[in-house]
């Protein structure tokens, strides 16, 4: 193990890392050492690794720019196999023993990447180049190549191997951000008895106090932090959530948070919180500076340099230069000096730097260049030097460095406030956007509010906490503010940047490789509104969402268009604040938990019969293949059984709605197109329901069980929808009708016994009622018992054969089914499935709503026009049937179709053109809606809808099915037993 991979750039002491727990990790195949408490970024820096990745478009070498979630450059892939995670921001990847990380967006390696060719030919690839190029011969020629080279990380191809939890939470006060302001506010509110949740995205509390050289009450700040965290941890009414990022605020203060697991079985936990009040103590993000060559490895935010130095004990550089437009970067000089690292120069854009700062620099032997800016940088795989000029462009020489710490001011983290529709205003003094109007229930305190000075931030936090407590709970004792006995240089006196506008290659968005030249292009092309500018240049659209660059980018846009930053505004901030794994949003609702699997009460009986199941909302037998049959053979056999002997079908999922009350008949008469009032008790009728547009929404048989009592059968998948519809009319439009509707679908099992021998089979089941053809004709029902079970027996047929639907209590389904099969043995009874039923009903031309009808089908279209027109009283949808469009003779009408070739298979969806040998392009004349091979007729048949179809019986049509063409003849949709002899048995 050589020294270069073993913390070569680590300070001998200090930092919050645990040196007693060394860890090993791998980066690009090389093994390195780190410590518990490191992040991937701090450990890489401590091992002297400079080049972490390649930039998005130009594939320029990039290093580590920040120490936080705002990282735009150090984007790596972690993990292996199915647990790989692309595009991780290295500063927020906690170091774990055995961590595997790799650069991405580079080939063959991060140190030698062929993609750099794009940088060398950068003039060809300005913003939006893809809108103007790659058009000839057609863009599809180039599509594959572009898709391969575009993008940043490699997506996964397998399912997510981890699992995710979700929590719903409620509280009085949600504090977002556990730095000094958040801690103090949470403490005050917690002591006052409020239910508090304190969320902090880092793995511990304290925020900047973990790395800034601050003393509170004469002791290093972490001491105070630990004390507060301990007291908060003891309070039952306070929930501390480290490693938890607040990702978005939605309507009514509903807030989402993403918690990362640490030593948990779950990878992430997604929280939905409903607080009564939110306090945003989210701090501020340091911004970069814009100058030529501002993207090299070795260029880092000044605050990040302090964090790596103080918190992680990293020797961030040996020859350091600082460039800034505000005071706070000077603290980096002082911190480095304290740890024996030489800063040679401070380049300050401001002409006047405060005397105290100048004196301190002088004492340390650091050279100050005021009213100056960087004109260029050198060093391919790591910065080696900068060139400097004054604000008029006169050269001020060149200086060497291996670390350039930059500060372009601080942007308060106002994202969450903006999600909640708070407004922002541009503040000239701080050159940033600050909170302006706050929505009800939200407060902002600390540097997130633009407040400078730690003591001011603490005071503000306390004040807000008191006000919140008084609003929500009652009086509270003002918390004791710690005294700031040693402080750092604050971000006062921020000056506007001074950009050399003659230089296009200055980066305004590091993550998406957007340069000043792109900004100028966008303005030249007219994309001057901030939202257009963003989308044309892709500024702020990468994984960092412009956290370190957007502020300056919008200031630049203002400068280019003669507008104040306040006039330019910001783009819309949208959740999530940082990326959220889709798995966390799905939670446990994956795989078998995606939707409930619903089984028929007689499921195991069907299994024993070798049923092949399909999901129709319920797991239902499609067919029952026997003795090595194929599905197709089984279906044909089942159809023949029903037509020739007898079959039994499990129709339990059919929707069953009981409608009762003195106004039940009147109500249903307003719902169906059919006359309900004339239906006698003990009889049933096939009905259509429409919506107010006159479109068929359901069909089914309704049964009158008494004067005030009906049972409606609905499509099995639609019962909830129809129940809901009926309730809506009763509650909203006709509340005076005395009716109740109850969904009893799962209370009753339903078995259909159908075929020429059906009556004989049912006779052997010892029915208490008379089931002769005279006593129980077609479309009649009877109540009694069958095989000793309470029964509703209905003579209704979907197969077109003599048919009995036997409804028994659902809990008896399995045993009753077995009883039927046993009773049917002498008659060769066969169980039949959904597929056979579909063949049977197609042979009879019976509708299947949703297959033969669509969102435009009216009663007349499917042959029920006379019933719909003849009913004199009003019903839902009736008025719409008299609109002009519904009277059009050319509407598509239900027809039967027979291919001229008896064996030609037809498919639903095949388009119909009137006439033989027609060819598209042409307007379609209709399409096939249902199709099957009919074993009864020994030919292929279909149903379809055809323009003016009822007048076209006998005509020949061309079917266009993909590339295939064949001819069909229009026939009656009733292929089998058109006079319904079978039903009258």
């Amino acid at each position: 193990m050589t020294d270069s991979r073993n913390n070569s750039a680590r300070l001998p002491d200090g930092g919050q890392i645990d040196r007693s727990r060394p860890l090993r990790f791998t980066f690009n195949g090389t093994s390195y050492a780190g410590f518990e408490g490191d992040t991937l970024a701090s450990a890489l820096l401590a091992n002297g690794v400079k080049v972490i990745g390649r930039s998005f478009k130009y594939h320029r070498p990039r290093g580590i720019f920040t120490a936080g979630e705002e990282e735009p450059c150090a984007l790596v892939e972690t993990g292996v196999g199915d647990a790989r995670v692309p595009t991780c921001r290295a500063p927020v990847v906690p170091l774990e023993d055995g961590l595997v990380a790799n650069s991405q967006n580079c080939w063959p390696s991060v140190n030698f990447d062929l993609g750099r060719l794009v940088d060398l030919t950068h003039g060809l690839w300005p913003a939006g180049f893809y809108n103007k190029t790659f058009k000839w011969p057609s863009w599809h020629t180039w599509e594959g190549l572009i898709r391969k080279s575009a993008g940043l990380g490699r997506p996964l191809t397998g399912p997510d191997p981890d699992y995710y939890e979700q929590v719903n939470a409620y509280c009085d006060l949600l504090v977002c951000g556990g730095g000094p302001a958040g801690l103090l506010a949470a403490l005050a509110a917690g002591r006052a008895g409020l239910r508090v949740i304190l969320a902090e995205q880092a793995d511990s509390f304290g925020g900047v106090l973990n790395w800034e050289d601050v003393d509170l009450d004469q002791a290093p700040a972490p001491t105070w932090v630990a004390g507060v965290a301990e007291e908060l941890g003891q309070l039952h009414n306070v929930l501390l959530l480290p490693r938890t990022t607040v990702t978005g605020i939605y309507d009514h203060l509903v807030t989402s948070m993403l918690q990362t697991g640490h030593g948990t079985a779950w990878r992430e936990c997604f929280w939905t919180v409903r607080p009564r009040h939110i306090l945003l103590t989210t701090g501020a993000i340091e911004q970069g500076l814009i100058f030529p060559g501002n993207d090299r490895p070795g260029i880092m935010l000044a605050g990040a340099a302090r964090q790596y130095l103080n918190r992680y004990a990293v020797r961030v550089g040996e020859q350091v230069i600082v460039s800034t437009n505000n005071d706070s970067a000077y603290q980096t000089v002082f911190d480095l000096a304290r740890r024996g690292i030489k800063v040679s120069t401070v380049i300050d854009v401001r002409r006047n730097v405060s005397e105290s700062l100048r004196n301190r620099l002088s004492e340390l032997g650091v050279y100050l260049l005021p009213a100056a800016r960087i004109s260029g940088t050198r060093g391919g795989k790591g910065i080696t030097a900068v060139t400097i000029e004054d604000l008029d462009g006169h050269d001020l020489g060149r200086r060497e460095c291996d670390l350039l710490a930059v500060s372009g001011g601080w942007a308060p983290r106002v994202h969450l406030l903006a999600h909640a529709r708070g407004s922002l205003r541009f503040d000239d003094a701080s050159q940033s956007f600050l909170p302006d109007r706050l929505p009800a229930g939200i407060s902002v305190a600390g540097s997130a509010n633009g407040t400078t000075g730690l003591d001011q931030c603490l005071a503000e936090a306390a004040e807000h906490a008191i006000r919140i407590c008084e609003t929500l709970g009652g009086p509270v004792d003002p918390p004791q503010l710690p005294k700031v006995t040693r402080s750092v240089v604050e971000a006062d006196l921020v000056a506007p940047m001074q950009i050399d506008s003659s230089q296009p290659r200055q980066w305004i968005d590091l993550a998406h490789d957007v340069t000043f030249g792109d900004a100028e292009l966008a303005v030249r092309e007219g994309y001057v509104s901030v939202e257009h500018f963003k989308r044309y240049t892709t500024t702020g659209m990468s994984v960092d969402q412009g956290k370190t660059g957007n502020l300056n980018a919008f200031i630049v846009l203002g400068a280019l268009t003669g507008r104040e930053p306040g006039e330019v505004g910001t783009t819309t901030f949208r959740p999530p604040y940082t990326p959220v794994t889709l798995g966390a949003i799905a939670g446990r609702n994956t795989g078998e938990f995606y939707a409930p699997r619903q089984y028929l009460p007689a499921h195991t009986s069907h299994q024993k019969l070798n049923a092949r199941f399909e999901d129709y909302g319920w797991q239902r037998p499609d067919c029952y293949p026997q003795d090595g049959e194929s599905d197709h053979e089984a279906i044909l056999r089942e159809v023949r059984s029903v037509r020739n002997q007898v079959g039994v079908f499990d129709n339990s999922p059919i929707g069953k709605l009981e409608v009762r009350g003195p106004d039940a008949a009147e109500f249903l008469n307003r719902v169906y197109i059919n006359n309900v009032l004339s239906l006698k008790t003990g009889h049933c009728r096939y009905g259509l329901m429409l919506n107010e547009n006159g479109v068929i929404i359901d069909d089914g048989v309704f049964i009158r069980l008494g004067d005030d009592h009906f049972l409606l059968n609905t499509t099995s998948a639609g019962v909830a929808r129809i129940h809901s519809m009926l309730e809506e009319w009763l509650q909203c439009e006709w509340p005076h009708l005395q009716v109740v509707v109850d969904d009893v679908t799962t209370q009753w099992a339903n078995f259909t016994v159908a075929g020429p021998a059906a009556r004989q089979v049912v006779e052997t089941l010892d029915p208490s009622m008379d089931i002769s053809a005279q006593a129980l004709p077609h479309m009649a029902c009877a109540i009694g018992t069958v095989a000793g079970l309470d029964t509703r027996l209905v003579r209704v047929s979907f197969s077109g054969e003599l048919s009995f639907e036997i409804n028994v209590p659902a809990r008896m389904a399995a045993s009753f089914f077995e009883t039927i099969l046993e009773a049917g043995k002498p008659f060769d009874i066969a169980p039949y499935g959904v597929e056979a039923l579909m063949v049977l009903r197609t042979e009879k031309g019976y509708l299947h709503v949703g297959s033969d009808t669509d969102g435009s089908s009216t009663p007349d279209d499917v042959g029920w026009g006379r019933v719909a027109r003849n009913k004199t009283t009003d019903y839902i949808g009736k008025r719409s049937l008299f609109r002009l469009a519904n009277q059009d003779l050319d509407r598509k009408q239900l027809v039967g179709l027979e291919p001229l070739d008896r064996q030609q298979a037809l498919r639903p969806g095949g388009h119909l053109l009137i006439g033989e040998n027609r060819e598209p392009p042409a307007e379609t004349d209709g399409w096939i809606t249902s199709a099957c091979f009919s074993p009864t007729l020994e030919r292929s048949i279909a149903l379809g809808v055809l323009k003016g179809g009822r007048e076209k019986t006998g005509e020949i049509l061309t079917v266009c099915d993909g590339a295939q063409r064949f001819s069909v003849k229009v026939v009656s949709p009733v292929f089998y037993d058109p006079s319904n002899m079978k039903l009258r048995e």
């Binding site: 309507d251 009514h252 107010e692 509650q731 909203c732 006709w734 009736k878 008025r879 002009l884």
Partner: protein, 101 residues
């Protein structure tokens, strides 16, 4: 996600509810006498205000009752919840037709 004050169950998450469009839409008392334009008005035309909207909601995964909300379409502030068939206190009197006898 809205937090909706069901008049019968109290404030619940929006996920429990189904939106039912604008409220106080009068169904013509005699549809057969309504002109095509009047019928279209009933079926399709809605106020679509920038401001307080009086609308129907159903507490599907709760008490399963319909009720009305007065909600600001810009801020989503819910000004009032009131029973189906009654008038809001916060707004102008709405005329309503009657569909029953």
């Amino acid at each position: 996600m809205l937090r909706i004050p069901c008049p019968y169950c109290g404030t619940r998450d929006q996920d429990e509810f189904k939106f039912g469009g604008e409220s106080h839409i009068a169904r013509p008392a005699q549809p057969e006498q309504a002109s095509d334009a009047e019928w279209a008005q009933y079926l399709f035309y809605r106020t679509n205000p920038k401001g307080i909207h009086y609308e129907r909601w159903l507490h599907s995964f709760g008490c399963r009752r319909w009720f009305n909300l007065a909600r600001d379409t810009v801020t989503h502030e819910i000004v009032e919840a009131y029973p189906m068939g009654s008038q809001p206190q916060s707004g102008p009197i709405q005329t309503e037709g009657h569909g029953d006898d």
